[in-house]
Amino acid sequence: MTDTILPGALLDVENLSLAVTATGTKVVRGVSFTVAPGEIVGIVGESGSGKTLAARSIMALQPPAIRRTAGTIRFEGRDLAGLSAKALRDLRGGRIGMVFQEPMTSLNPSMTIGRQLEEGLAVHQRQQSAEGRRAQVLDMLRRVGIADPDGALGAYPHQFSGGMRQRIMLASVMLLQPALLIADEPTTALDAVVQRDVLELMVGLTRAHGTAVLMISHDLSMVARYTDRIIVMRKGEIVEQGRSDELLRAPRHPYTRALLSAMPRRQPARPIPPVATPIIEVRDLVVEYGGRRGLFRKEAGKRALHGLSLSIMPREVVALVGGSGSGKTTLGRAIAGLLPPSAGTIRYAGRPIGAGGAEWADYRRNCQMVFQDPYSSLDPRMTIGALVGEALRTVPDMGRGEKAERVVEVLSEVGLGKPFADRYPHELSGGQRQRVAIARAVVRRPAFVIADEPVSALDVTVRAQVLELFADLQARHGFSCLFISHDLGVVEQVADRVVVMQDGRIVEQGDRDTVFDHPAHPYTRRLLSAIPALEPAGEGGVRLKWRFDDAVPVAVPS
């Protein structure tokens, strides 16, 4: 199906450099790579590596503030720099398609799906009749697995879930049968299970059309599974590229190795000494949203949690996993006292935590929380020292000096040290901020910490460091922890026990090894099958292994 002039390279990027126009700061430096027809190539790198900018600049779609300073981009043998605006537009969509990361903003909210899909066809296949276009659109929607393609034509994007939108996006791009598909983090915003479905679909479709793919991702293991070749970028430069399996097995560059070793892996199970009273005991917890007491009636709300029970032992790390909307965050917030339960009890060390009163104050002192987003969980107008010190404000029997000492002590414990005390959050990196958030949680020496997706916003290498720090602190101070995460890889590394949630209910719980190796519930199996496991291979590399591969439906209708 491919009709390339140069059989060797469909896309040939040579010595590409990009810079911020206003300041001249180089963001991509001398990047060269090729993509052969039908080939799937991954660009992997952490935030700030320039991978997205490099990919977007192929179609001259980088943000207006970024300028190309050097290099050539050849596509099907033609230098793209010399193209007229018209020729460039013909190329866009027609020969090169693009899929974006954020399904919430990549489709126009005020246009029907049908119009958005037909629009590209109308530009690139003018001779087609309207009926012909419609038929083509319907066919493609069916192929990407939209249940009711006719209905979808008249629907708006917001009526679809993120996964569905990404399928529609894919349909809109593949409709035009491009020779190259640039996929910019196409599944990062999706749940693990959905992520895998969409990726399988994408690979299946492009293989069927002979379309080459340039896939951009921060997730090495995910990319490795689907690509023929991988390019590793760091700080605007390519540090290494090669065949995917080889690169995994025998990484040459230290950064690639660091990336690989940062992948979470299972630690040996820890013995948790059995105790009579759990530190936290949740009984039949129900939480409802939106229930409003009107003047004359009480509206029933949407039920987010359907009577859950859960206990956490001293020193134990319990992981709460589930897809988005499973209610795991709601449960965490309810236990933290941020949401009033509609029914059920929560006991701390055997005593119910009634709102107000001495028990409540005691619980407050002993239960702390680490939030997901390090950018929003720290008050931007306070210094790090003040932020951490604030946690000690309500601690009785502690002098001012003692508090100051404790702050410095805990800052060095999280690897930041005293100089950071006078800085403001915006002066810190994401990883450093999350360290501050952890410092703030542990400075009071709590007995129990709720960590709500504490590392999901972090880059792979930083995530590994933060996880390590967290494990250290947990071991040293011995607090119990409710660790909420959608990332089973991380969970596998940190948890003693795993609780799986779906639709506001607990579907399975048990110690980590049992749940991971012998999942009882089908949902758990689906979750697990969506993530790769790593097995150490020789030469410092790894080998990818998929769990329960049988469970994954790889259905690409052609």
Partner: protein
């Protein structure tokens, strides 16, 4: 980047000149701004009177300078009054929610439904047409807008994780509002305050125009402009100069406000 710096330079220059004029005008003017001189009535701009004289022979430049001080003072006080009151209402309403919020906002919306200038007009006739009356009237008239915006900010802030973090730490609601929510309202409030400064300047002159501004003989730009109306053809400088002063100051304020918004409004951030 380019536009931002241009905004700051131009806006800053204009406001700088205005403030300098106002400060100077408060202590020294070329002539006594209230001194009547029948010999020099309606003198066109010239060597003796750079910007001419008015129908009482008073020096226009001196009056403009004196007026700058008054106008600035009125605008600043009004912004401060509306800012403080509006912030208080918005904070309470946004943080308390429930019935408190509903009642406060019902009042707020009722006041918002009056165009501010009409509300000010009504209040002004009650408070009396003088500087403090204007500050009270315009201050009250703009309070609902401030309260709305502060409430909105508070509502979005209270969903932010650092506010929840404060609650998890066991801090009282009062402390959380004071320590975490209020300081973070400062950014949006600063942006609002600059636009409000402009509105007040405009409203004061419009009120003068309708006959309810700062009473003469004390000059403000608004009442000078309003008082120039009968002489629009005869002594065009009487209207042109105060008009220019108002327009240029507003221009400066708006330019600075835009720059501030670019800096402080998170939605506008990350343009590059």
């Amino acid at each position: 980047m380019k536009r931002l710096s241009l905004n700051v330079v131009l806006g800053g220059a204009i406001i700088g000149i205005v403030i300098a004029g106002a400060v100077l005008g408060a202590v020294w003017t070329p002539y006594d701004p209230l001194k009547i001189n029948f010999v020099a009535r309606l003198a066109p701009p010239g060597a003796a009177h750079w910007l001419g004289t008015d129908e009482f022979g008073r020096d226009v430049l001196s009056r403009l300078m004196a007026a700058a001080a008054t106008s600035m003072l009125i605008s600043l006080s009004t912004v401060a009054a509306a800012g403080l009151l509006g912030t208080a209402v918005g904070l309470v309403s946004g943080y308390a929610r429930g019935w408190t919020d509903r009642i406060l906002m019902a009042f707020n919306d009722a006041l918002l439904a009056f165009p501010a200038i009409l509300l000010a007009l009504g209040l002004l006739t009650v408070a009396g047409a003088n500087s403090s009356g204007i500050i009270v009237a315009l201050g009250l008239a703009y309070t609902p807008s401030v309260a709305r915006i502060v409430r909105g900010t508070v509502l979005s802030l209270r969903e932010r994780e650092f506010v929840e973090a404060s609650r998890v730490m066991g801090n009282s609601e009062f402390y959380t509002v004071l320590r975490h929510i209020l300081p973070n309202c400062v950014g949006p409030m600063t942006v609002l305050a600059t636009s409000m400064f402009g509105w007040v300047l405009l409203a004061e002159s419009a009120l003068s125009f309708l006959g309810l501004g700062v009473p003469p003989p004390a000059p403000t730009w608004g009442n000078m402009l309003a008082g120039s109306r009968p002489f629009i053809a005869q002594a065009v400088w009487l209207g042109i100069f105060p008009g220019l002063c108002i327009s240029l100051t507003l221009l400066g304020i708006n330019l600075l406000g835009d720059a501030l918004r670019d800096r402080l409004d998170p939605r506008m951030r990350g343009a590059s």
